[in-house]
Amino acid sequence: MNKKEIILLLVFILTFFLFSLKRNTYIDFFVPKGWPKPVYNFKDTKLTQEGFELGRKLFYDPILSKDSTISCSSCHSQYTGFAHTDHAVSHGVEGRIGTRNALPLMNLAWVEKFHWDGGVLGLNSQPINPITNSLEMDNSMANVLISLNHSKKYQGLFYKVFGDSVITTNNLLKSIAQFTVSLQSYNSKYDKVMRHEKGVFFTEQEQNGHQLFKRNCESCHKEPLITNEGFADNGLPLDKDYSDYGRVAITQNPKDSFNFRVPTLRNIEFTYPYMHDGRFMKLRDVINFYTDGKANRKTLARELLKPIVLSENEKKDLIAFLLTLTDKEFLFNPKYSYPKD
């Protein structure tokens, strides 16, 4: 090796080293065995450790709201499956009250149409809704960009992730989505039993509950996501205070009246209150509604045409099964919690 070659080699190694220093750490999205293919476009939004951390900071930062008082986490708190247990419907700036129950956030890579009415067609664009809704953060996208671009901290963080310290709508939404798409729950007792993990078994009651679930609920709350990602009229009587007819507002097809999202039931133990307007506090109320309280109307989901009959003991069994959908590793995972700087 002559001198020239050695220098060339050194330059090469140094360049490689510098390059690797600047590069983000890519994360592979994990799809649990037996789950369907995610619908989220991971080609357009590549997951990186740095992007995830930036999204996490934004998720917990009230800077997104008009008066810097509320953040995404105000209505989506981790310990309740990223739902809002204290309130039937969402709360916004200045104590304003929304019209719908904040949905829990988990396994969003499998969601095609967001919100209770399915009006939002992508995870990346979803945050625009709470940011600009006058009953939620009541901000404008232009104003959010101004606030973020005034922050030295965010300029640096965005530079690290996107190689550009000017914060754009695209990069803002891509970072939030990197966090929200990573909120994965697949380690409940139910999952472990299904995976035949060593030493994890359903009790007799849970086992019986699972059979009842399969017979009465699973056609809509499909395993393993515990939702078919569809919209349906479950027979919930109209609350005249809201006069909310759900998905018909989006499609304007009368058949979609009273149609709302079929939510996942994962972590349902903690995502109370239930239904799109949060009218039920307890799982027992929900089950009693399905056995005895459904409104009989034209739009009622055909899966519900046949009455659901459950004895008192069967109701208990069914609830016991639903509690196996609780995933403590998700609810208390420190990587999803408030970021400490």
Partner: protein, 231 residues
């Protein structure tokens, strides 16, 4: 020998690129926003429509997209990623440049007023499709095609305001309007938008607000289609 080849190659490439350049040219189109044949003035001027509605215009914003030129020789020129937001408040938005157009006489120009279904769901939040531009519908994924806001004593609501946010791209909600205009011999590249053509066709006493896609929005879109004229 090798050198000669390389030389010939370079000359050939140069000639070719020169040739290509010579036959293409850029065109700037101007958009003139008018009310009763005079340049539209926002906020400070009162207008009277044929229906005797006295109006003040506070906002006029709309998208022009999928611009296609039909040339004299029968060929078409399609602009790439063709989306332009026109905003009465922003002078620089009142013109657009079409690049590398084949150098022929232009017979026709066609464009959509609004954003098509593809761009509506693309999550391509850049340039004029950036939701920060205030034309994005958050609750029902898509863009407002045409936004007109103003005040009128004819309005029956407390604030005496009218607001039309017209959009929608789903099959029964499609408010996209295709405009096709034949260019004159003079080849003037001015698109006139005569706002009175729209407001003359409606009664503000009856219609003051359309904010969601649907039948009413489609009807409104068919009415504002008549605003577009060529000089």
């Amino acid at each position: 020998m090798k050198k000669v080849f390389v030389g010939v190659f370079i000359i050939a490439i140069t000639c070719l690129s020169f040739q290509v350049k010579k036959n293409k040219k850029d065109h700037i189109f101007f958009i003139h926003l008018n009310f009763q044949n005079k340049p539209l003035v926002l906020n400070d001027r009162k207008y009277i429509t044929v229906n005797n509605d006295t109006v003040i215009i506070t906002k006029l914003k709309f998208y022009l997209s999928n611009i296609i030129l039909e040339m004299e020789d029968g060929t078409q020129y399609k602009e790439n990623s063709s989306v332009h937001l026109v905003d009465a408040e922003n002078i620089s938005s009142l013109e657009f440049k079409l690049k590398d157009v084949p150098d022929f006489k232009i017979n026709k120009i066609s464009f959509n007023v609004g954003v098509d279904s593809l761009d509506s769901v693309s999550e391509k939040f850049e340039g004029d499709l950036d939701p920060a531009k205030g034309m994005y519908w958050a609750w029902n994924t898509g863009y407002v095609n045409m936004k007109l806001e103003g005040k009128s004593s004819s309005c029956t609501n407390a604030k005496k305001e009218f607001q039309f946010h017209i959009g929608g791209y789903l099959p029964k909600q499609n408010a996209l309007q295709k405009i096709e205009i034949v260019l004159s011999e003079k080849q003037n590249k001015i698109i006139n938008v005569e706002l009175s053509n729209w407001l003359d066709a409606i009664s503000l006493k009856e219609t003051q607000s359309i904010m969601i896609p649907g039948e009413k929005a489609i009807k409104m879109a068919q009415l504002y289609k008549n605003m577009f004229e060529f000089e």
